[in-house]
Subunit: 504 residues, 2 copies
Amino acid sequence: MSTSTTDNKSVEDTTQQLEGLTTTTTTATAKPAAAAVPEKKHKEKKESKKKFVLKTPKGTQDYTPPQMAIREELFNNIKSCFKKHGAVTIETPVFELKDTLTGKYGEDSKLIYDLQDQGGEICSLRYDLTVPFARYVAMHGIRSIKRYHIARVYRRDNPVMTKGRFREFYQCDFDIAGEYDLMVPDAECVMLMCEILESVKVGNFVIKLNHRKLLDAIFAICGVPADKFRTICSAVDKLDKMSWELVRKEMVEEKGLDGEVADRIEKFVKLNGHPRTLMAQIRAEKLCDGHKDAIATLDQLDVLFTYLEAMGCLDRVSFDLSLARGLDYYTGIIYEAIITESDRGSVAAGGRYDGLVGMYGNTEVPSVGFSIGVERLFSILEEEAAKKKIKIRQNQTEVYVCQMDRDINITERLKIIAELWKAGINTEYMYRATPQPKKQIEAASDAQVPVMVLIGKTELETNSVAVKNMATKQQEVVERSQLVAKVQEILKSIDQSQISNLFK
Amino acid sequence: MSTSTTDNKSVEDTTQQLEGLTTTTTTATAKPAAAAVPEKKHKEKKESKKKFVLKTPKGTQDYTPPQMAIREELFNNIKSCFKKHGAVTIETPVFELKDTLTGKYGEDSKLIYDLQDQGGEICSLRYDLTVPFARYVAMHGIRSIKRYHIARVYRRDNPVMTKGRFREFYQCDFDIAGEYDLMVPDAECVMLMCEILESVKVGNFVIKLNHRKLLDAIFAICGVPADKFRTICSAVDKLDKMSWELVRKEMVEEKGLDGEVADRIEKFVKLNGHPRTLMAQIRAEKLCDGHKDAIATLDQLDVLFTYLEAMGCLDRVSFDLSLARGLDYYTGIIYEAIITESDRGSVAAGGRYDGLVGMYGNTEVPSVGFSIGVERLFSILEEEAAKKKIKIRQNQTEVYVCQMDRDINITERLKIIAELWKAGINTEYMYRATPQPKKQIEAASDAQVPVMVLIGKTELETNSVAVKNMATKQQEVVERSQLVAKVQEILKSIDQSQISNLFK
């Protein structure tokens, strides 16, 4: 399912604003690589000085080690939620045949990245993970699968780097495909979305939920002509960013809807609240009476609400008749999660799409799922870490081995280090043959390493090592043969998780 | 560092062989999505029937859940080795500005995938992880970093899917950049490569090692003209796939080398063996005497061998004067790992490259590293799993919740499941409102789930649940409030690792 990140679409790239770190530089002449490198080569290099811009492409970025530490924690968190629900995982190529993507995204198709025709097949970078999933299910003849897929997707959209809106970004998708009983997998998807957002400390959230068929029924009840359903649906979809007045204007002036019909729509799309309360109101006020599809869909939603109640997550849901979701392929429930204290838009969204797999073959495989907009969660977590001034460890080094005397042969450290590595202990040392004691101690404490192993001449003579617990500052000299056991004992006593306070 | 997978280069794509699973199909008309969908839309869909090929692009493939289970285990294994050495990780975009890649790969540049010019920057898919790493180091002004990067790279090469040679494939790179003492980071790279290959059950391996400057010195000693060093080096690089006779022919007939010079080269490139033995032989036979650079490089290699010996991995190394490595940018030691029982070519390779970062700025940052050719390791592991008939679990579900009476309301299962999920237990159930007991038990045992939780009418009346250990077949009825504790107790007693026997 695709989380829409296309609030303000534009594919113009002519101004070429350079986001992020940008350095203009000249290609420097490479240092002589080898003494024996022929003179002629050197000359060529000197001549080829050429100005170029040192940057990543527009809308993309590098992730630095501290950012990666947070991201890895976040991904592991989401992955373990997916696994808790028994999901398997798949991987698909980063590009698909262009034909595979054609006709799936409506107007958004203009945002698809194409590969150059270099002789061969015509390919495009994937735009989301849902269409490749549907292609996968059809191609492998699968009748049922519950899978997650964490991968990057590509959109030639107008990037807003500070808001977590990129041209290259991760999605974390979970989908259940297969013929199952009414609302059973749908309820699990909503439940799982709640569990994921609860597991990440991003603040309070609400899951807005609606049903495509109910929306269509409401349009019919209000008197929208059948051929205007999808375009009016698109207009309703803008209600989270635009006032009703502007949406009404679009409906009437741009889309030629009768003003009275629009006013009848207003009455419906302003309705939202606790699922049980709003359901009672719709029934009490007989808002949908007389429309068979509407009544049937409301009954189906009642089943969903009962399941969500049994699982304890119904109170997270707001039944919201204004929720429309942009994509054409939804056929059942639609839902999206909003962080109530943040202006980042939806952080997760999805719905039921029963027709997509059938577009690739002769077999329909009804599906429901959602996508976590993990870049937005990441930018919230990153802000949080900055606010709390959390110093994020970039690596997971447990031990730093120092020699306290510059005369000691480096091989003495190498023997110790190899032994610790063999025991599976994350160990570093200084890449110097004769390092200063002070420099090594500085490096160890800069890296927030919990244990230091020290050798001096005395230790070498007595076949022993000093082991220091950096938290308690206690240092102990043990026999050389007890090194690994001692280090493991200290490591066991230490809680090394330093990023995990970002998560509940 | 790039593991060369380009044994037989070809960018012709005209024959369009369709590797792997290929299905020709027609776009089926989507089922009516909603009863209220306008008639006109349906008609349009029916008209747009168009033949298309249901496949992934040439040289790419989908990974299925059992493949992903092996891959995930393999990646976690490699990642923990990288972390054991204190490496941080970074991420770079999948495409770079075309200029960033220009002039880095020599002849192989023709294999680079370009993105279509859609107005904006001209970009190309990354060809390896080394060049983006050098760009990253230069752009962020980094003076020292030890990082790993696990990601896919792209080459418009002639794919051989059965041999693990693809157009889209993973590399696992480890590099140490920074000014350090002679051979210290180099030794760590060789050591780490050994540790990774030992940690994965892929059979015996040998690490061939040579030095670019020694090779250049040998060429000089043999009388190769300085401007022919690189092209003769390329010819030597083919010795692992071609006989000396053919390589000699290429040198003399294609590259215009004097026959006597070629014969002198033969004497050198046939030399290989244990580092200490070959070093002694070179010195005893005075093979490099009189050439200053050769003598200096041999002394440096002695330092490396001493470090490797101290760490206990020197016996894995074969000092091999025929090893040349294709890429131009190496400036120091070069090495590659070969699985001795397999014909898959090198499974890991790397070397020192002191000039690459300097090509992006004014600062040289000397670097050494390697790349694990993980697709080849994966294909060995996959064969192994097939040979041993290991049934690979696709997910990590721990508990399956069944209702033994079709009349019980599904919400009873939902309450149990939500409780288990809340306790962090991986739980599944059947997506049916009134499932048959037999079908549920079949599903649970198909999925190799270690614990089953069962409820019947008796259990509901007595506020209890039955918990079954699927390994021992023991079933116990416990109070409803004891459910989570009982399940956790059984899970603790079970070794759930089922793929880990592929690894040591």
